[in-house]
């Protein structure tokens, strides 16, 4: 089923928030997508685009779908990045994907920022749809550490890395993370990559990066050059590449 892409207005986002609040109180209701498909709750996105109610295999697939949709229509980034009504409408449209009901219709509701997009970065990167698009748009296949997970998961890689704007926008560094912490054989992140008790975990890499950033022009370095300056605590990850 395809639907015309829309943008929630402030009133629409308030209604969406009311719905999420009701779910939190134990209500068992379907997402109010039909009720919010017209003014004053939403407006049509320009240019007119269609979206499918797909069952995405992962957040990476979701991000890729959106990037291809907007690139195919030549939509400028400045129409997208902070279009919080757009991301919120998409979260509503795909609500069953990003907040699925169990067999009894009960949903596990997380913080509102996962569903209703905020222009404040401290919440923006937590939005399931906006961050899937943003991270895939920036890093394409190297986004798998963050996005190769079910569409309802906000994993620790996103929380530790995407929360830091300097780091998430650094392409070679994200490439290094993929190199160190992605297990190509099992197609999933390596065990303990986010475990703060394990030397060289991803938190340590973020911390080390802040130190290197004082001395080296990291954004211009190749992935291998960055790997070369990592200290001994990263040895187990380097050797397991």
């Amino acid at each position: 089923m395809s639907t015309t892409l829309r943008v929630l207005t402030r009133e629409g986002m308030n209604k969406f928030a009311d719905y999420i609040g009701a779910l939190r109180q134990g209500a068992i209701e379907s997402p109010p997508i039909d009720q919010l498909q017209h003014g004053p709750w939403s407006i049509e996105f320009i240019p007119v685009l269609k979206v499918e109610n797909n069952d995405f295999s992962s957040r990476q697939a979701l991000g890729k779908c959106l990037v291809e949709l907007f690139e195919g229509a030549h939509v400028d980034r400045n129409k997208l990045v902070l279009n919080i009504g757009l991301w919120s409408w998409l979260a509503l449209f795909w609500f069953d994907r990003i907040c699925p009901p169990d067999s009894e219709g009960i949903r596990k509701i997380r913080e509102n920022a996962r569903y209703i997009c905020s222009s404040d970065w401290r919440d923006y990167y937590r939005h399931i749809i906006a961050s899937s698009w943003m991270i895939y748009d920036m890093h394409r296949e190297n986004s798998r550490l963050f996005l190769e997970c079910p569409t309802y998961i906000h994993n620790d890689f996103i929380e530790q890395v995407a929360s830091n704007q300097d780091v998430i926008t650094n392409k070679p560094l994200i490439g290094v993370m993929d190199d160190l912490y992605w297990d190509g054989s099992s197609c999933r992140p390596k065990k303990n990559a986010t475990n703060r008790n394990v030397p060289g975990n991803i938190r340590r890499l973020v911390s080390a990066t802040h130190q290197f950033d004082l001395t080296y022009d990291i954004r211009q370095m190749s992935q291998q050059e960055i790997v070369d300056i990592l200290g001994s605590e990263f040895a187990i990850w380097k050797s397991a590449r």
Binding site: N78, W121, Y124, Q165, T215, Y216
Partner: protein, 256 residues
């Protein structure tokens, strides 16, 4: 007092070394111009100069030649960035003669000074960003450099610009929060402050001539009570100097 040592040896590029202006076509930001003169920093003449524009997830780097000839080698187009209205800039000088580029000098958190021919931020130390922030009237946001931005609810745009009551209610609190954040969270090296921190210190000195010493919580002898009292005095002085807004505020209150 504990001495602050610059282990990296990086030099600080300050406001006297550059100006960055935004070019606007109709209502949207299109590009920028940067005039850079680093001749007094004793940097190697052939070191590379880069200007970076950044905001939220947007980042773009532009080549600006060398220290001896810092001119734009790339188109300084900003129109492809997602949200060019509130961009910050960074300037770095890189020694690229070795195996890996080493940063020799930098300035970060630079706010552009002009849009088109109009003075835009007029040396504002507290940029304002009108955003949808739900039911909050205002909030503070801190850029990755630590530079504060006053975020005002976009529904209050007219009120913020024209109603002196908004100024009286919001700015003292925003100023207080920004100063406290700068000292206690971002932390400051008074001997080598970041560009935006230097502007804030200069502003504070206009109101209270002497800074608390030390001003960095990590330094020996730091007295948080003294620093908080200093913040109070800066805010108080700032309010005392805003007679125009205060008198308008009183007129409105008396007419109510």
């Amino acid at each position: 007092m504990k001495r602050t040592i610059n282990y990296t040896g990086r030099k600080r590029i300050t406001g006297k070394h550059f100006s960055i202006d935004l070019n606007r076509d109709k209502d949207s930001v299109k590009s920028f111009m940067a005039n850079i003169d680093l001749s007094d920093l004793n940097l190697p003449a052939e070191s590379a100069v880069y200007v970076e524009a950044y905001h939220l997830s947007d980042y773009q780097r532009y080549r600006f030649g060398t220290v001896s000839n810092p001119t734009a080698l790339d188109e300084t187009d900003l129109s492809q960035l997602g949200y060019p209205e509130n961009l910050s800039f960074r300037i770095i000088v890189v020694d690229e003669t070795g195996i890996r580029g080493r940063i020799l000098a930098h300035a970060t958190g630079i706010s552009p000074s002009k849009i088109g021919d109009k003075l835009y931020r007029k040396e504002s130390i507290l940029p304002v960003d009108f955003r949808d922030i739900g039911h909050q009237s205002w909030a503070m946001r801190y850029e990755s450099s630590g530079e504060p931005v006053l975020v005002i609810n976009e529904n209050l745009r007219n009120t913020a610009k024209s109603d002196s009551r908004f100024f009286v209610y919001v700015y003292p609190a925003a100023l207080r929060e920004a100063l406290i954040h700068m000292v206690f969270v971002t932390k400051i090296d008074v001997s080598e402050p970041e560009e935006w921190q230097g502007n804030w210190l200069a502003f504070a000195k206009q109101h209270v001539a002497e800074l608390p010493e030390p001003l960095n919580p990590e330094d020996e002898g730091f007295d948080d009570t003294e620093v908080l009292e200093w913040v109070d005095r800066v805010v108080e002085s700032f309010c005392n100097f805003r007679n125009r807004e205060w008198n308008k505020f009183i007129d409105i209150e008396e007419a109510a």
